[in-house]
Amino acid sequence: MKRSSPRSTAALLVSVSIIASALSVPASAQGRVEVGNAASVVGSVEIQASAKAKKRKLARKQRVAWGDIITTSKKSQAQLLLLDRSSFGIGTKSRVRIDKFVYDPNKDRSFTATLLKGALRFFSGRKGRKQSGEVKTSSGRIGIRGTAVDMFAGPKAVKVGEHEDALKGVKDKKDEATMVILRGPGVGTAGELTQGLVEVEAAGVTVVLDEPGLAAYIPRIGAAPIGPFRISDRGLLRSQNRLAPEVKRANDGGGLLGDLLPVAAGLGAAAAAVLISQDGEEVPGVIVNPNDSPVAGCDDPDANGVC
């Protein structure tokens, strides 16, 4: 049997190392970088790998990757769950692109996304040493630190803000406007969460949102953000209706899903257990079938948020 020379042994070792290195190269260098799944899909939602790629129907649990564009139609919504448990809730008639997401469980997480139009809610996930995020719109940039934030671009931004006192007389362009509302966590949060902070930047001006309920509005491309101002209850309700159209629709009495799927038989043990008074006394939940008495919802509540 032929003896292998030290030279051939070395060559083999080098080959093994090269193969190992090639296979351990970050997925970004190899192509598609999958960063999460479509955790929830309602109605007609499509995914495309780039602006020029063919649109395909998005299925629940389908992987989403860098560069993917998610588009929701009327009466549709989706939630993307990323590997660090951060989530993007995409409202009706919206279009969102995931530009980049980098996550190291032992170090940090960062992402960049673009809200091309519509409604987007972001919740940060697992605590890391360093968390940063950025959402771009046509008229501005939203810097995010460990937070819950609602963002709107285009006509939805105009609609959410149209009754806000702080925006009276503002000249906006419906295809260019951006609305940002910080939802939390605030300084009084439970769970030792990092206090939320958002920076809304446009035309060289930065507005900082550091309390839940504070908002900023960019009326058009080239304009500085207006704010911070406190969003009204009416504005918050409009925001919620655009992010969760199915909840609004079902409780308006027109929910198709609610008619087709099994519904709550009550508040549920888990929910009832949460409703504990501050002195620790459990409060019983007396429940009837919610289908028997749908809660009236509306798209245009009065100034007090009442329909």
């Binding site: 093994v16 769950l81 448990r85 966590p185 769970g191 409703l275 501050q278 809660v295």
Partner: protein
């Protein structure tokens, strides 16, 4: 000498295999976890329980996101809607929580439960 060379080659191959498979295994595990979270929302009570567990661990933002997945499928779920409002208050978005609580009805939630929810949001239940 040959044995030595074989040992080195074997060690190299094992290392390469480890490098190849470890990140993939971690990635698979992460995807399995988020797929399981997605599945949990297919059952209303399981989804609410998942959210309760997350909140109990202090992961309130994850809990709210879980409830939003439940509500996407069960939009009339009184339990999910009530907890969603309460958890918003827990992260100090009391305005947002109260806006949602005001859309619920006493006869759906139960008067005592709804009163408790309002109190948790630092407010009295409207009469």
């Amino acid at each position: 000498m040959r044995k030595f060379q074989r040992s080195i080659l074997a060690a190299g191959a094992i290392s390469a295999l480890a490098i190849m498979t470890m990140p993939a295994m971690a990635q698979t595990q992460n995807f399995d976890e988020i797929d399981a979270l997605s599945d949990a929302a297919l059952d209303e009570q399981a989804g609410i329980q998942t959210a309760s567990n997350q909140a109990a661990n202090g992961d309130y933002l994850e809990a709210i996101a879980t409830l939003e997945r439940v509500l996407a499928i069960f939009p009339k779920s009184i339990g999910a809607r009530t907890l969603h409002a309460v958890y918003l208050c827990d992260i100090d978005d009391k305005q947002g929580g109260l806006v949602e609580l005001r859309r619920l009805k006493k006869k759906d939630v139960g008067e005592e439960a709804l009163r408790a929810a309002f109190l948790r949001c630092g407010s009295e239940m409207p009469s």
